[in-house]
């Protein structure tokens, strides 16, 4: 039923798009069928898979870096008052620095390189992960801590069975919000300083004023990211909540 409603709303949206495009200038608003034709053509030449693949790779690497550093940082902030006092201000600064500024500075300082691109994406995402994890680490159940002390849980047992299970919902939330942030930023980063990837392709077709290609590329990439959320992150979410 829920799926049917979703499909229905999608169908209505497409029909509306098709209808409006019939009256609009095809250069500024191409019909869905034209976009589909472009996507198929681009898939045939291999350009689509190459660019989407390159961008996905960047998202993946920076995602892993931002998640692992962000989780560690967040736990440290949530568990230690001193760490929180020392790092709260820098964290707020990075959190409120526009993605564009971080990206430009990364390219200026590290050159127009792959490393700079990945650092820029990771640095944009990391503070969000840290802030979410800090909330998680602050909310640890003191009763369970006392139980773990009384029963002399060793460090490994405590991490695996007391700490991580309490943080898992926060990690999944950070991952889900983080991945959508990362893919939006990665396109800007590519647009500014990379010779390939979805962001580069969109910029290239923008200079040609090929709106069909711009819409085609963004729709394909959006679908890929939605699929990752639906088939990877949501099942993971359900898995960590299985005991509820």
């Amino acid at each position: 039923m829920a799926l049917l409603a979703r499909l229905l709303s999608l169908g209505v949206l497409l029909a509306l798009w098709q209808g409006v495009s019939a009256y609009a200038d095809t250069r500024t608003l191409p019909a869905p069928s034209a976009v589909l034709a472009f996507v198929l053509r681009e898939a045939e030449t291999g350009g689509l898979f190459f660019n989407v693949g390159v961008t996905l790779g960047r998202v993946a690497i920076s995602f892993v870096i931002a998640m692992s550093l962000g989780v560690l940082l967040g736990i440290a902030l949530g568990r230690s008052r001193l760490a929180d006092r020392l790092l709260d201000t820098p964290l707020l600064v990075v959190l409120n620095t526009p993605a564009l500024v971080i990206t430009v500075l990364a390219y200026v300082w590290l050159g127009l390189t792959e490393t700079a691109a990945i650092v820029a994406v990771a640095l944009n995402k990391l503070p969000n992960v840290a802030v979410i994890m800090r909330e998680g680490a602050r909310g640890l159940d003191p009763g369970l801590e006392e139980m773990a002390t009384t029963y002399r849980f060793d460090r490994r047992t405590w991490i695996a069975h007391v700490l991580l299970p309490q943080l898992q919902p926060f990690m999944v939330a950070a991952a889900r919000s983080g991945i959508s942030l990362a893919w939006k930023i990665v396109l800007v980063v590519e647009l500014l300083g990379r010779p390939n990837g979805v962001g580069f392709a969109i910029n290239y077709y923008f200079t040609l004023f090929d709106v069909t290609a711009v819409i085609g590329y963004s729709l394909v990439f959006m679908s890929v990211m939605l699929a990752i959320d639906a088939f990877l992150l949501q099942p993971l979410d359900a898995h960590v909540r299985r005991w509820r």
């Binding site: 009763g143 002390t149 029963y151 060793d154 047992t157 069975h161 005991w243 509820r244």
Partner: protein, 257 residues
């Protein structure tokens, strides 16, 4: 100290050495910007093998504080616990079951054991507590009474020399409380465990205790240490009521009529 006289009256001569000697001369909570609160002032008792000791006092009287000290969780106090709590083998059943909700019943019990003993056979223990059908379930699927049994199983799995119970039967219906109580008594009878139970249910304490420790309101000090010599099996309702009335007359502030 007012405890001294009562202590002497309750003690029997020529007993084996106690498993644990607890002496809290003074325990003060100091928090920034608030007035210091004196929780305990002069509370001393011994725990002996095979004996059920009940600590009775009004709520907020520093009973839980005393337990935390006895378990070695709180070392900021004046006094001494001998020998060192970590060396004695103390297992604790908390007032709320404090199980790991994301681990199964069996995992909860096993995780309470030191790593090298985690794989030991537990069939008999689960069977004796009526938990066998629930081993693979998560705690959330169990009632509070059953969760308390799991907490008891986790403590008993350690084969402790001292079992500490903090208000273990509150908010249970009479049947569940009675069956859990029976399980504790059985465990003591079987392995000679020393039990220290904190409660404010005097009737319950009279039913199972070998010794009652009556504690004053805050700052807690020992008012009396009383032995109940009648065997548990011969304690009937009339005897219980009579004992309770006697106590109520002697300690009107602590034991209600």
């Amino acid at each position: 100290m007012s405890a001294a006289g009562a202590e002497a009256a309750g003690e029997i001569g020529g007993r084996p050495a106690p498993l644990l000697t607890v002496r809290v001369d003074r325990k003060v909570y100091r928090k920034a910007r608030t007035e210091a609160v004196e929780a305990v002032r002069g509370l001393a008792f011994d725990l002996h093998a095979g004996e059920i000791t009940c600590l009775i006092g009004p709520s907020g009287a520093g009973k839980t504080t005393t337990l935390r000290i006895l378990l070695g969780l709180d070392r900021d106090f004046e006094g001494a616990v001998m020998p060192e709590p970590s060396q004695v083998g103390i297992a604790m059943v908390f007032q709320d079951p404090r199980l790991l909700p994301w681990r199964t019943i069996e995992q909860n019990v096993r995780l309470g054991l030191p790593r090298e003993r985690r794989t030991r056979a537990l069939d008999e223990l689960f069977e004796s507590l009526g938990l066998s059908p629930w081993r693979a379930h998560y705690p959330g699927a169990l009632s509070l009474g059953m969760q308390r049994r799991v907490a008891l199983a986790r403590a008993l799995a350690l084969e402790p020399r001292i079992l500490v119970l903090d208000e273990p039967f509150v908010s249970l219906d009479d049947a569940a409380a009675a069956s859990l109580r029976a399980l504790v008594v059985q465990a003591v009878a079987r392995s000679g465990t020393s039990v220290l139970m904190v409660t404010h249910n005097v009737a319950e304490a009279i039913e199972i205790a070998d010794r009652l420790l009556l504690v004053s309101p805050r700052p807690a000090h020992l008012l009396a240490s009383l032995s109940l010599d009648r065997p548990r099996t011969e304690r009937d309702r009339a005897w219980g009521d009579a004992t309770r009335r006697t106590l109520a007359a002697r300690f009107p502030g602590i034991v209600a009529q």
